[in-house]
Subunit: 125 residues, 2 copies
DNA sequence: ACGATACTGATATGTCAATCTCATTAAAGA
DNA sequence: TCTTTAATGAGATTGACATATCAGTATCGT
């Protein structure tokens, strides 16, 4: 546990990648992108920084079924995701749907929901 | 690859578990349940049988974000799932929602969708 | 500029689901 | 019943991902 917290170019590079990110990214994608800014960057630092950023509440984990965890900025509002079956990129969706509550069985309490669309993205159609 | 196919009590036990299954089950859950019918049943046989049943089209894989794959009978119609955050059981939902297509961005083509609700089930509320 | 120490990078290690190996068992046609 | 060989069970192995280790580096308050 660190009481102090230092600003390093590694963490800044990772932060920068997440700041410009379109959809949620996997650790190795973040690594590859941040590598352009800090060529010596190790994958362990990516995992460490992601954990720190999560603890700080800046970043949130997004799980897509059958895939390893991805990460996105947590300042984005409520939204859902689209997985392209061809290029395997995940896109953010802006809107949500009505009537989710109608799905909940009697006696159950809903706290959250997620919708994942599958198909082909604009580039892969 | 086997040209022939034999009926064994192991496979029948696994089939029986899936026949009475309420929501999708994980391999180790199927194993634990089928163990009551065939005490010697090995986990490898569960994986092998699940693969066979998938090839035959009897069983389908269901992925819940952040969890390992679960399996359910494929004769169930279109439906979605509810994950209880307390007991981690997955329940089938009967209805679907309208307006999914409105989420799709221009130029994208949708082929499928899934909705996962999170909360507390009847027993855990 | 100095010093304490948080951070990093390379690699070893851990974790866990799923598969493979292989000797043994048992299903089913002859 | 006999024979062929598909299927099984136990344990070893794999593979993907994440964490731990530790010596060396770099930040930042003084």
């Amino acid at each position: 546990m660190s009481l102090e917290r230092r600003t390093t170019k590694q963490k800044e590079a990772i932060r920068a990648v997440l700041a410009t990110q379109e959809g949620p990214l996997m650790p190795d994608e973040i690594h590859a992108m941040a590598l352009k800014a800090v060529p010596s960057l190790g994958i362990a630092t990516v995992y460490r920084s992601l954990k720190t950023l999560q603890d700080e509440g800046m970043v949130r984990c997004v799980e897509i079924p059958g895939q390893s965890p991805r990460y996105e900025r947590s300042d984005k509002g409520h939204h859902h995701h689209f997985l392209c079956q061809k290029c395997h990129t995940v896109f953010d969706l802006e809107k949500c749907v009505e009537g989710i509550k109608k799905l909940v069985p009697p006696g159950f309490r809903i706290t959250d929901h997620e919708i994942i669309l599958h198909g082909l993205c604009k580039s892969c159609v």
